[in-house]
Symmetry: C2
Subunit: 330 residues, 2 copies
Amino acid sequence: RYFHFCKLPGRVMGIRLLRFTSVVIIVLLLVAGALTALLPNIKDDKMPNSRREPKTQSQSALDSFTLIMQTYNRTDLLLKLLNHYQAIPHLHKVIVVWNNIGEKVPEEMWNSLGPHPVPVVFKVQTVNRMRNRLQNFPELETKAVLMMDDDTLVSAHDLAFAFSVWQQFPEHIVGFVPRKHISTPSGVYSYGSFELQNPGFGNGDQYSMVLIGAAFFHSGYLEDFQRQPEAVYALIDETQNCDDIAMNFLVAKHTGKPSGVFVKPVDIRNLEKDTNSGYSGMWHRAEHLLQRSYCVNKLVNIYDGMPLKYSNIMISQFGFPNYANHKNKM
Amino acid sequence: RYFHFCKLPGRVMGIRLLRFTSVVIIVLLLVAGALTALLPNIKDDKMPNSRREPKTQSQSALDSFTLIMQTYNRTDLLLKLLNHYQAIPHLHKVIVVWNNIGEKVPEEMWNSLGPHPVPVVFKVQTVNRMRNRLQNFPELETKAVLMMDDDTLVSAHDLAFAFSVWQQFPEHIVGFVPRKHISTPSGVYSYGSFELQNPGFGNGDQYSMVLIGAAFFHSGYLEDFQRQPEAVYALIDETQNCDDIAMNFLVAKHTGKPSGVFVKPVDIRNLEKDTNSGYSGMWHRAEHLLQRSYCVNKLVNIYDGMPLKYSNIMISQFGFPNYANHKNKM
């Protein structure tokens, strides 16, 4: 009876506790539900592959791109280009990869000449490496990357159009500089541009790479690049070259399709000659092109096969700059 | 013991029978497995929507197309064009839609001038209707249709390239003649070409239709066309016009994307003036363009909305005819 008596208040308290606990649990579930509904969508399929409509203007991370520009020994060109690129439509942020080891970034000067349309981040590097620009920068918030060499000027019109094309082909490298490889009967590959014989698929020429020094591509590929065989990094470091060829291999392997989509630029300029530094860029080295053929063959070894595929699609903007640029003889 | 005796041979025979049956079953499974491996792939998703690589040359129904050409009162042009088109690469068959009611098809003459590279089928019609060419012809074996007006000459180079482009965009109308609609503040639409003001998406022009009188599209859309609202057929019959606008509405509704992909032709010719018949085509009628604006608005009513979407993608062939046609100022 003592036992029973002791149980009674316990049971009553138990019921109240139970009721209270239930209410708390229900409230917590409701709050959790509300929070889940408010959370931003998790990034879905990272590499969508169908042609989509370009989105309307918005500076959100989904509808804008991040410019990544690596620079070495041409700060005058860099600053000139930044003045141009900082105002490109749909630009979200600029990341400057500072390969001038030991030299201070021009951040003070940059800030003193503000305000600026978008944030610019200077990423100080410890070693002057070509592949520094292919890091998966934490500051990168957009799905799209625009990568530009620090001596290349592309018009805003070209960039706006190419970005809209990238949005329709987000798993490809969409850019302005096409190149190709050629197989030879010996099985050794050669790298080149349009002067090389065409690969033999009917008339016209083909390209199998789009260089990343003037191109849009999905930021997910920077993530993928961190997971490549060590031999790829060694190759790029050894040659201080070929990071773009490696990226084309990566993309082609990933998609099973041609890595790039070539957009014919209306106005693209090389500002090399305009620099005061006297520095004229890696591609002037005597061995530059031979190195790139060398890289193609090494990458085929590393990846155990040739993943690059040919395309002959050349995209231009309908009705621009000449509103009748599509006219035919009919 | 009799029982046991009888069981013994039964059991022995049973074991032999079991072994024999097992062997037969295993052999049958192996044969079935081999057959399955050899079977051609079932036609997968009829409307694939990702950019694919063009297949290598083959005259199979998967890698070739059927030319559908409707003809009225211009048999001289028809025969001239047939001599050209019959030898286009990847052509599987020609279907001539004979709108010359009561007139004999030139089949005897055709046969007497054989042999021909591909079969040509003359489909005699009972009524002279513009939409006769949009039937789901039983003779159609290929996934791809090339539809040409009977006064339009497109070069073999252009067709070979456009076919390869269609193979990468099989759910779109891939062709040589872009047109657009314009919205006006009143909500009434207008139809036109590049002279109309652009729809206002940045610089350059836009197109929202690709005419089917010189285009590739998926044969599945002919099937779909048979299932449209009666009002669509009535509209086309009333105007003897606008079947191509209706097809663009159909395709845009189906894909939710721009219906067409415009390939800029290198060599496209209108042979109207060359006919002896004196017949010069429907588009010379005074009301032709006004009719087409009328059709756009009627179709918006019928489909309860405007499904057409704009595109400014213009595709050309890389390195053809000029192997340096992609060169830029760099």
